[in-house]
């Protein structure tokens, strides 16, 4: 294609249309930057890293939430591209949305390691050693960049502003699955509410749009199973994990060898 037309949803205007010369490898963010630099300096949008790691440039492109910096214009197979703000969030101006409520939902699930021993937590002298296969149980969910695309895509979030949201539930599960965390019961109670994990209906749109393959849909179903285990099986504490305490004296000191790791299998080698 020689040229591409950007139809942007602007505040106060129905839609503003910008025609640009297409360059090979052009992303939607490149197009927006060019519009702001050469055609309309009043166009408002967020961006930062331009390489898909900060999550700032989330917007609705051709009806689907995407990162503008990661969306090649050529991949959209159209000369006309519609760009709108992220759905389910309040618009501040043009493509800039208020992401505050989204962050508030994240904070509500206590997204940090909870330890019962405050003294040990505040004055720890040794690290917590976690096996590679234990890390694998939650590492995928740790890759979240909090871009908000999953929340924008979620049909329940569209309907219910009180819904915890796929990102927050995923982060809650990330900590539930972490063997160092002792806040499992607190998180189960936080998620097992009227607008919590049970309002997910497995539409999978969150995993469909996630730019980092965090797979929130999977985390949500796993969180559900944890809650059902607690309620039905009446399991105290976290099922299926070993308690992790700070490493014993002699472990982790400089000069001590870590157990051998099998990179092909992705787990600690059995000795």
């Amino acid at each position: 294609m020689d040229s591409v037309t950007l139809k942007v949803a602007r505040t106060g205007l129905t839609r503003a249309s910008y025609e640009l010369k297409y360059r090979k490898g052009m992303t939607v963010l490149d197009a927006l930057i060019e519009v702001r630099e050469r055609q309309d300096s009043t166009l408002g949008y967020r961006h930062s890293c331009r390489m898909g790691i900060c999550g700032s440039c989330g917007m609705t492109i051709q009806g689907v939430p995407r990162l503008a910096c990661q969306t090649q214009v050529s991949s959209l197979n159209s000369d006309t591209i519609t760009v709108e703000p992220l759905h389910n969030m309040t618009v501040i101006r043009d493509l800039v949305v208020d992401i505050g409520p989204f962050f508030r939902l994240h904070r509500s699930v206590k997204p940090y390691l909870i330890r019962n021993d405050i003294q040990e937590r505040d004055h720890s002298e040794r690290e917590y050693r976690v096996l590679a296969e234990e890390v694998r149980r939650f590492l995928q969910f740790d890759y979240c960049i909090m871009c908000g695309l999953c929340y924008a895509a979620c049909p329940t979030a569209a309907l219910d502003p009180m819904y915890t949201g796929p990102q927050a539930i995923t982060q809650a599960y990330r900590y539930m699955a972490d063997p160092r965390d002792e806040g499992w019961e607190q998180r189960v109670d936080l998620l097992d509410t009227t607008h919590g994990v049970w309002r997910c209906h497995m539409a999978g749109a969150c995993s469909f749009v996630c730019p980092k393959d965090v797979d929130p849909a999977k985390a949500i179903q796993m969180a559900r199973m944890e809650i059902l285990k607690k309620r039905i099986l009446r399991k105290k504490g976290k099922p299926g994990s070993r308690p992790v305490a700070p490493s014993a004296p002699g472990q982790g000191k400089p000069g001590t060898k870590a157990p051998p790791f099998d990179f092909a299998e992705g787990r600690t080698k059995e000795t």
Binding site: K110, T193, T194
Partner: protein
């Protein structure tokens, strides 16, 4: 620190128990509803029209009273729990959540009563 959110809506019981009820009634419904639909189908040797005749319809209800009773209970609970979830998501009541639960319970009770009367009276 975890910020407490605003009133998350009232519930008579933990939401997980409610959802467990939904799942159990769903699983039961698959079987009892299949049974009901098979009874109305040509697979029982009658045309669909014939299964709607007074004699056949009452005969089915009388002969399989327990199964139809189970169908009534599971269908009403599952269906109106679903309605409750839909309204909860759509209207997301904060202070009036108890009213939604009450209305749903009343509707469930009313339909269960009507259906039970049918099952008891028919002969």
């Amino acid at each position: 620190m975890g910020e407490p959110l605003e009133d998350r809506g009232n519930s008579l019981m933990k939401e997980s128990w409610n959802m467990l009820l939904t799942y159990l009634t769903a699983a039961a419904l698959v079987f009892v509803l299949t049974f009901h639909l098979l009874l109305q189908s040509p697979l029982v040797g009658k045309a669909f029209e014939d299964t709607l005749s007074f004699g056949v319809a009452t005969g089915n209800l009388v002969y399989y009273r327990v199964v139809f009773g189970l169908l009534l209970v599971t269908a009403v609970i599952h269906g109106f729990n679903g309605v409750r979830v839909l309204v909860l998501e759509w209207l997301h009541p904060t202070k009036m959540g108890w009213l939604l639960n009450l209305v749903i319970l009343v509707l469930m009770a009313f339909l269960l009563a009507v259906g039970t009367v049918t099952l008891v009276v028919v002969h």
